[in-house]
Symmetry: none
Subunit: 204 residues, 4 copies
């Protein structure tokens, strides 16, 4: 009964509609937060009536859940990319600048904060996050482990898990940092990130 999408005669059209709603939701959520955005607002942004949305989503919470789910995949994709790289460890370090810069944009960091807070009180959301995180972590772990073995570095699983969790915390803390310090100078920050990434990934 959970997460099951309603049956529609024309599944293609239904998916288009669902996407319309989720896109509208993104715009509203990022401006007003999950709970500040009203269904009326979302429906207007989606170009369909409020009532009609309920043909595609059971409730506002279901929209939030679908929205979070969708956002979750972004991280997964990053991992997929990383897995393709020749030298993933160096890639992580080299891309630090790009990733940090990306997080500078308010449009980028508002939604994560909203999602995290929602997860902190909505167990369904929390579970989604945890589930996705676990998959990403496993993938990340195996990428890093292989890369370190190739370099002749120690690759104890537990140790690596610890380091990777720290690494991810660092990135996840970035939006939080920007709220507290919107004027942060980016170059030195990136330098700091590089030091950390180098230490975590290339140290004994």
């Amino acid at each position: 009964m959970n997460q099951v999408e309603k049956k529609h005669p024309d599944p293609e059209r239904a998916n288009t509609r669902r996407k319309q709603v989720l896109d509208a939701a993104e715009s509203c959520f990022s401006r007003r937060g999950f709970h500040g955005a009203s269904m009326a607002e979302i429906s207007k942004a989606a170009g369909m009536s409020a009532g009609h949305i309920y043909n595609y989503f059971d409730s506002k919470d279901a929209i939030i859940a679908a929205f979070v789910m969708q956002n979750t995949e972004r991280v997964s994709n990053l991992m997929q990319d990383l897995a393709q790289r020749e030298d993933p460890l160096q890639a992580v370090i080299d891309n630090a600048g790009e990733h940090v810069l990306e997080a500078l944009d308010p449009k980028t960091w508002m939604m994560p904060l909203e999602i995290f807070a929602e997860a902190s009180r909505n167990p369904a959301i929390a579970e989604m996050l945890q589930c996705s995180d676990q998959r990403s972590r496993q993938l990340f772990l195996s990428i890093v482990r292989d890369a370190r073995i190739k370099r002749g570095l120690p690759a104890d699983e537990e140790m690596l898990q610890g380091r990777l969790n720290a690494l991810v915390a660092l990135y996840q803390g970035l939006p939080v940092r920007f709220i507290h310090n919107p004027d942060v100078k980016v170059e030195p920050l990136i330098a700091g990130f590089r030091i950390i990434l180098t230490a975590l990934l290339l140290n004994e």
Copy 2:
């Protein structure tokens, strides 16, 4: 007109009441979020009528603000403590375990997430955070700079700012991490933190 607390003939009692409200708010907020918690709920938890709360706080937003302010001081105090240490750099590294463990408790990390999300859409809250963060950063910077100079390490201000922002992001990402991975093994995580802290604080 700003931030001025209402005059009460018995300031002691008033403070007790205010604290009652803030304590109740903490309990409600952590369970339901700032906006999920109703004044009725808070008033019940505080053991006073909803109307009466308004003798101590101008609005629900004022409660949130006071609550955030209170939480904010915790960080300030950490800095004050640090300033007293003989070897602050080593202290930061040594205390990593303690700080990480502290953040493990859901009661500890739920509120920050809520605060961050609130700040992302409530400018008043954001300003409070930024203001407090700036003070803490300055203090932290001067502590670390002095300590590094004493050790004969480079202490360029901009470079240090970058590293410290990264360091703080790391800690602020911790609650986010726990939401995604509540089963994280703490010891390896702490080890990861130590690597980072050592690199940031003691590297050239």
Copy 3:
């Protein structure tokens, strides 16, 4: 943004609804006053939920304003009628009885009193009244001036403005008078009015 009515796909139905609300409001307002009448009361009288009223009016104040506006038009219409008359001066005098009788009905005089009091503290309402009054005065002035010129009577504008303001004050005082003296004998009162009207309109 001002005074713009919300767009409704079926304007006819919307107008019916709006009228329902205004009629209900009239009944409640006249019994309890603008501020004594609650939205719940009005909604019950209007046969629709309180929430739904907000699809047609932005706020209770907007209902009051619309209501006042509606009442205001009554006076405008009287002027229009007057303008059509062959001998407007005599018409005013002849109709005195009718107008006074009309004002005798409590339903007629309760609302004006409420409106006047509201205007005395609500600038938006005051402005509506003043604006409408100005238009009516101008029309009234030109009607009376032309009629006096036709009769060969002096028609100095300032003098006429003074007399007409007095004339209107007389009528506007009528509801007030009825509250103080509900048993007033109408015939002699009308006779008094005729003396006044004759003096104001037909004197040198």
Copy 4:
């Protein structure tokens, strides 16, 4: 049980207190209306605690009633004055300017409007007004009748009642007129009043 003032050991002090409250009420009422003024506001203006006011008045409504009662006496006093005049009819006409000017001050006309509106829904207030009005009317009638008899003018009681009611309506309409037309030119208005008063009082 009605209107009975509470017993106080020191009636003198009690009266002082009551007056304090009524004075404060006047200031609050004129700014915010009877229902817009809160007991807290009044108590602050009166320089005593809200609770204490209840030692002198049973309820807010009782304050309003007492306040209206007090205001009512102003008109009575005018009549007393008039009764002393050598030529009361001419006095009324001569004083028109003064009375009209007095009514120009917003402080003067806000309260009457508030009182009238209150009377239109509060029967207790209405009764007070009616009772006081009746006394004033009788006095006014006898003054005018005697004066007209002295001048050899007709003095039929019913006719005079009609004229006097019209006269009073004229004055009571003045505040209403000022709300609608705050820029009214006073001199011509007074001239209009004189025409009316002359016609009502000195005509056959």
